[in-house]
Structure formats: C-alpha cells, structure tokens
Symmetry: C2
Subunit: 400 residues, 2 copies
C-alpha cells in the first residue's frame, strides 16, 4: 500500500528540522533526525505501557516532568532497548551532545530511538554526525525528518492543520512512523507533533492524552506492543496568542485539531501495516458499555483468522462471531447483526446468504465491518489491516 | 509437518467405532463418525468458554449433567455454530436418530460438530448415512474415526496408554483434531477419550479438568478460540475393576495416564498447527507466581513477531523481551535471562552476542525458549508453533 510522499514543505513557525545519514542503518539512508524549537516550548508526552522500556523512553519519562522541551534527537535503525545501563548512558550522552551543539540545556533535549532491540547504540556515529545535523536545521525539512525516522514504513506520515485563534492563524503538524508491532495501547510507533500556539502544559497534557486514547490506542496491526512507543507534542508559542488553558475558548478547537492529526496519522500507520493490502474499520455498536464495544472490536481486529480471511476476500463471518464470543464481553448470539459495508451478513445471529455480495465488497481496499451487539447504545471503532504473506516475509528476517 | 498415520488397530474393550462419507465435506472423504460404548458409561466433558457456543456444545453441556453417556456422533465439514434455533433442533435430531439406530436413550447420545461456522447442518445427509454408519461399528475402527473428524489437520491424532489396575490391564485411548483457531483455554479442538476402567463420575470429572488445564489450555497456534471446543471422556467399566474414586489408590495412576494422553494429543495439535514448521516450547521460570509465569509464556507464545522470527530462524530476542514486557507481569528488565535450548541469548537483560549459535539451533524443528524472570521460583510451559506463509494460504480461503 504505497503512497507517493507529499513533497509540499511543511512549515511550523519557530520550528526547524534536519536529518542526515549517520551510518546507523546499513542502507545508507537518513537515520538521524533533529527537531528544534527556536524557543523553549511547553511539552507533553505519552509513552509505552510496556514494562520493558527503551533507554530513551525512560529518560523522556523523567524529563517530561518539567513540562518543557526544545529539541528531540531521533535515530532509526537501533531501538536502544534492552541495552542496560549503557543504553541509558548512551541516551543521556546523545541528548547532552545535541544540547551542546544547539547551545541549550540538556534537560530540554529528548532522545528517541526506533529499530532493532538489544544492540548498543552506535554513539560514535551519532556524535560524529551531530555538528552537520545541527548545521542542516531548516524550517522546511520536516518531510525529510518524517522519512528519516521510518523503519519498515513504506511512506512518510505527516498530517497538518491550520486553525484560527482569534485573528491569528495557528499551525499544528505531526509526523509519525510505525508499521509493525502495532497494537492498542500504542504501537512501535513514534509520533511528534509541533504547534506554534502557546498552550499551558495542563491543557497540552490532557488534550494529548485524549487524542492518543482516540487514535493510537485504537489501531492494531499485529497485537505486539513495543518498548519504544512515544507520542510527544511541543507548543512553542511563536504565534504569541494568549496561552490556551483547559477552560479557554480555543481549547476545544485546539483539541479537535490535535484529534484530527492523531487520527489521520494512526490511520496512515494501519494503512502502512506490514504487508497490508486493506485498511479495515471495525465498528461495534449496540454495546451496553463503551468498554465492551472496544473489547469486542479489538478481539475482531486482532483475530488472525479474521485478518487472513479478509486478505483472501473470504466473508467468513463465523470467525467474526467466534472472536466476539471470546472477547470477554457478555453477548447474546441471537441479538448480533454483522454488516460488511452496508450489506447485512448476519441477522440475529444467523447468516443471510450474502457471501457473494460480501466477496465483491472485499475487493475494496477499505472495507468496514459493523457489528451490532443489540445490547445497548454504546459503540467503539478500531482500525486494523489484513494479514498477508508479505507480513511473514517482512518479519521472518528482520534482524538478519 | 506431516506424520505418517499409525496403522495399528487401537482396541478399547467395550467400545466400537465407525465412520462414513456422508457427503458433508466436498472432498468425499469420511465426515461422519460414531463412537459407541456397549454399556452406558460414566462421562465427563470440558467445553469452550467462548460465549458463542455451537448448538451441539449447548446440547452436550445440558446432557453431561447426567454424568452418563453411551455414544458420540461427530461430523466434520460443518460446525453447526451460529445456526440459531434450527441448529439446536438439528443437533437434537441427530442424536435422536442415532439413539434410535442404536436402540438406546437419546439422553445418552452426544453430538459434536466441527467445520465451517454459520451454515445449516445437512441433516438429511446425516440421517441417510446413519443406518450404514451404525452397521459399520467395529472395535478396530478408531483410526478411521480419528481421520474422519479432521478438518485442516494433516494427520490423525491418537494417544493410548495401558495401565495395571490391580491384576487387570486397563486401556485408555484418546483421539483429537484441531490445527487452527487454537489458543489457550481450548482450541478448535475436539478430543474424545475412552477407557474400559470403572471410574466414579466425580473422579472422572476432576481428573479431566486437571488434564485439560495442563495440556489443551497451554497450547496456542493463533490465539483464536472456537465455538465448538469439546473434550469428553467415557469410562464404561468393561474392565470390571472396583470403581475408582478420588481417594482410591488407583486414582493417581489413572490421572497420570490421562495427563499423558491429553499432553501428547495437545502436542500433536500444535505440531500440526496450520502451516507450522516448528513446535516451540516456551518455558518461563523464576516467576513470583505460577499465573505470572503462564501469562508471560502465553504472551511470548502468541506474539506474531516472535512466531514469524522463529519461522525465519531469526533469533530476534528483542521481540521476546517486548512480549514479556507487555504480558502484564511485573518484571525487572535487568533480571531477565533468555535461553534458546541451552544457549544463553540474554543475560541480566542484555544480549550475549550468541545470535549465530542461536540461528543454528533454530534449524531444529523443536526449539525450546527458556525465560528466567529472576523474580521467584514458579514456572509454566506453553507450546506454540511458528507462523508461516502457509498459515496465511490455508486461512485466506477457508470457506471458498
């Protein structure tokens, strides 16, 4: 599912970007990237809930307590995870050297890594590349950064919105990477969002948490959760608006734009799911509680049998019923309806003999499966992709 | 991973077996099978915990309350699941007609089905085949029954033990089917076990529950749980031993033999995992609680990334660490050791650079991954298989 990269320059006032090939990836492509805010920014972050956290994640969790940030140094090709004390020292040193080059405090620099787990970070290569990386900083290089942070991704993921804040026009832009090891409650997934708005850290924090809950935590590629997942936002106030708080009139507008961006980026991640040929929306309606709807939707979205059936254009709704049944949600079989797009495949728990129509719908790249549990009024939506031979190919020899 | 079927005749005194092609499967192979005890037997069963249960399972759950059984009529090619009231009526009618042909009470007849979900059971074909099926009953046809209940299985699964009960030699034999939709807490899995011992139903029940817990609930192929899972045991007392109770001296011996059989059958199921080329034993040691060990082992066993890596002979232990980390168990990264067979891949959370040795070990068809959490003394073992392109092939077009 390739998508031609968008060559438009993305400008966020007060931010500069750079990338460089530091020799971490064998491929020789850009693998070190820098995001820099000209002024210290309000910062918030959401990190993996995996008990085993990569070194840079542990460092970021500590630093985010200051609610401030000015730079993020990101490498691909090496996760700096399961690297012990040395890994933590390497992450610290990376952020320090970056801070020195930028002439700012190390406390304002976040490090972020993605790639193979368990190999020491090639710190010398990073140190060596840093001066030129800083020299390359430019307001118009966001696209290159979005590419440099990719691992198995096939396209760079950028989403941007403009919004009116009083008489001013604000910009909010995010980039993301992640194509495998994706599951609800984050993904092998990095996402960095920048805005020139001035936003108080409490407002930034709550808006980010909500946005992640509604986007990255509702996608699944393979139900594996990584050690490195990170979503960070920096708001540098270059717009010089009066700072947005949780009760200010523009909070809703900002939160909506942030939601749009995280939703769009999370959709791109599933679209780019390793080996995926289809992006599938699983909607569960008619649940007693939203948590039930989400649980059922995730069980269907994670079912290897459902995912392979959709790959094969096989409207095997029995597998959907089975997944609903083992989701842990109390359901009554004879209340369940299942639709594929608008075609009812199952009515009151019984097949409707619409397999042929369904098979044709599955030619579509973006089918929707709607499940009505017939038990209440709550609903949830989860995005997933199909499971293909290509996924196996990509993942059978990742480190070799 | 084919295995030549064993052509030895399996005799269990007092039991007779038969199979026939009833035309339920397109392939024209045997798809209707009958297990008959000459005398009413003590019976126990464990059934799927899926909230959506196939009609014959619902019927069996009701009938097993009598703790008695004399016959099991099993069809493959159709699961009779998600078939509503008609499905239940069909299961009842199947057992009634079988009872009539056998001249026994319908309450002693269990129906069991496996195959595609959501299609009405072809009752007419079953009824038509029943007289000849009953006519074929023979003490030496167990092998044929084990084949007739197969769906995507590539070999028939039989396990048998002889044991001394005082001066007599008892027989206990089980058959099973199941190759996909396998996950802890049962599988798309049918298993029927027969013994000529006389066993009180409480003893039969508790031994069966323990045996299932230690075998079928500790295997995983694809983390999907079916609507039809059934494990049943019948003890007909043809041996004329004094009935075994939970406190009798032979209970332990019987329970051990039953454990052996369910363990062997569950191992065969994983070995025959759809598309599998490797049977992998995941051992988690050093856990604070057994439940923790099991949780961590299951997370690793179900990780698509771990399973594809092993298929590709890629000793990507970072994926194992990540799975341990998201298993929900509290772990300390720097306490974790990981071995592949006897080679230490990870020591105290850090890689040992033994990837080349590990890659060679992965040429082996039955590798063992041992994880020491370094937190306590409890352990658990889970069996899984690798995830291959063949799995996708088998499951992409199952109903088509």
């Amino acid at each position: 599912m390739r998508k031609a990269p968008n060559r438009k320059a993305f400008i966020v006032p007060g931010f500069r970007f750079a990338s460089i090939p530091a020799g971490i990836k064998k491929s020789g492509t850009d693998d070190l990237a820098l995001i820099f805010s000209e002024a210290p920014a309000a910062a918030a972050g959401v990190f993996t809930t995996n008990k085993i956290k990569a070194a840079p994640v542990r460092l970021a969790i500590k630093r985010i307590n200051s609610h401030r940030g000015q730079a993020i140094i990101i490498n691909s090709g090496n996760a700096n995870a399961c690297t012990g004390k040395r890994g933590l020292k390497d992450a610290e040193e990376t952020s320090e050297k970056t801070a020195n080059e930028l002439g700012i405090s190390p406390e304002l620099v976040y490090a972020s890594s993605t790639g193979v787990i368990g190999r020491p970070l090639p710190l010398d290569k990073i140190k060596k590349a840093l001066p030129e990386l800083v020299g390359r900083l430019s307001p118009s290089s966001l696209q290159q950064v979005a590419s440099a942070i990719m691992t198995t991704d096939t396209f760079a993921k950028i989403s941007t919105r403009k919004l009116r804040i009083g008489k001013k026009t604000a910009t909010i832009t995010g980039i993301a990477k992640g194509a495998g090891m994706i599951r609800p409650n984050m993904a092998t997934m990095l996402c960095f969002i920048f805005t020139d708005m001035s936003i108080k850290h409490q407002a930034l924090d709550s808006a980010l948490k909500d946005a992640v809950k509604n986007s990255f935590n509702k996608i699944t590629v393979d139900n594996d959760m990584s050690t490195n997942d990170t979503v960070m936002i920096m708001a540098n106030g270059a717009l010089q608006n009066s700072p947005i708080t949780r009760t200010s009139p523009f909070y809703g507008k900002f939160a909506d734009a942030l939601n749009d961006i995280t939703h769009e980026l999370s959709k791109m991640i599933v679209q780019d799911g390793e080996g995926a040929t289809k992006l599938i929306e699983i909607i569960v309606k008619g649940a007693r509680r939203e948590a039930d709807a989400e649980k059922a939707a995730k069980a269907v979205a994670n079912s290897m049998l459902v995912k392979t059936a959709i790959y094969g254009r096989d409207p095997n709704w029995g597998r959907i019923m089975a997944a609903i049944g083992y989701s842990g949600v109390e359901v009554i079989e004879s209340n369940i309806d299942i639709y594929i797009n608008k075609t009812k495949l199952v009515g009151k728990g019984i097949g409707t003999d619409k397999e042929e129509i369904a098979r044709n719908i599955l030619l579509n790249r973006n089918p929707t499966i709607t499940i009505n549990l017939g038990a209440g009024t709550k609903s949830a939506t989860v995005l997933t992709c199909d499971l293909t031979k290509k996924y196996i190919e990509i993942n059978a020899h990742y480190t070799t």
